[in-house]
Amino acid sequence: MKWVGLIAVLFTGGLLLSAMDDFPKWGDAHSPANASPVSQYYIEKTIEDSGVPNMVTAVLADYRGYDTMFETVVVLIAGIAIMAILRVMNQIPGGARPSPRHEIGDHHDIIIGTTCRLLIPVLQLFALYVIAHGHHSPGGGFQGGVILGASFILTAIAQGLDPALERLPEKSYVKLAFAGVVIYSGFGVMCLLLGENFLDYGVLHVLLPGIDAAEARSHSMLGVEVGVAFTVSAIMFAIYANLASKGELEGGL
């Protein structure tokens, strides 16, 4: 098996490497990928179309809005799948599940506890900055969402899963994940109701007086990114919580 695998890998790699001369050179500004009219259009017209300096965010949330919306749905489905695979509902008949014993001092380490108490608010604030400032500096919904989710995961690692789940219970994060997708598609439906194509934000300027179509695109991108961030942060925490506790959402690592 090892030899068959090695031969297959070497054959594939050799085939790719033998065509190396046909690849564009490193840093070639006129390679097919870089000189394509699509990329050139994004670079030249983003500011005209939406007034957003960060082209990556503009392409992500506006030009390729469908892609990002369904990417968010994929993340949501992955989270639901993990819960469906792992989650065990060990409900004792008669209600009143014995509350998980969380001994004080169990996970309590003074250095770790203090560091996390100082670090987590800063982390969450930074996540909000990354989300909200995503179209002017590097950032956006996915990045900020992951940082926000990481702050909850840090709580779970440092203080145990139960305190983290007290702050963000299962019901809340499932709702949060769905709310993100609803926000995103809600922007699309609003455009439909106003007589434009799905996710064509330009028409939304009639809802906010005093701005033009380009500014409406910029603000809608922020709204859409917030939706993405909700889903991503909730699902990141859901993945950790379910994997770390074998689906029981108790005890943790």
């Binding site: 068959v4 960060n54 990556v56 002017h136 990045q143 074998k246």
Partner: protein, 159 residues
């Protein structure tokens, strides 16, 4: 010899790294017996693809695909001027040439966008894979592929 080396390796070193990483990942996925090691191989493979795309968008001497605020303001002032009805000839003469956005100055944003979503979806699929392997471990008590197959075969023979 040196010329060929430069032509094949130095000019394309990013693709060499991507292909080598891809080979490592593929080898791990095919030959490793442990499911977690297979997943590690999958992640390495994924990293190779991400590196391939992002490095294809690099341009020599270009900066990140974010316009400077200064350039934005100049652009907006020009748009206002154009809207206010300045004559086009004056507009062109007043330095539109020097302030126009040159695509060669900014690296290609498209691969960045594609890989941004690919990274997050990669994390999500990795989570699903880990969940599945956790269930496999619960049912078979092992993550070694050969042992799992032997147990399945034994169960079939019994039943």
């Amino acid at each position: 010899m040196g010329e060929i080396f430069k032509q094949y390796v130095i000019d394309h070193f990013n693709f060499w790294i991507a292909v080598i990483l891809m080979m490592i990942g593929l080898y791990a996925m095919i030959t490793k017996n442990n499911l977690i090691k297979k997943l590690i191989g999958m992640s390495i493979f994924q990293t190779a693809i991400i590196l391939f795309y992002v490095s294809a968008g690099v341009k020599d001497g270009a900066t990140i695909p974010i316009l400077e605020h200064h350039a934005v303001e100049v652009e907006q002032v020009e748009m206002l001027a154009a809207a206010a009805g300045h004559s086009p000839s004056e507009h062109a003469a007043s330095g539109h040439e020097s302030h126009a956005i040159n695509p060669d100055d900014y690296s290609n944003p498209l691969p960045h966008v594609l890989m941004l979503t690919a990274i997050v979806v990669g994390v999500a699929t990795l989570g699903v894979a880990l969940a599945v392997s956790q269930v496999i471990y619960k049912n078979y008590g092992t993550l070694e592929e050969s042992e799992i197959l032997a147990k399945i075969k034994a169960a079939e023979n019994d039943g």
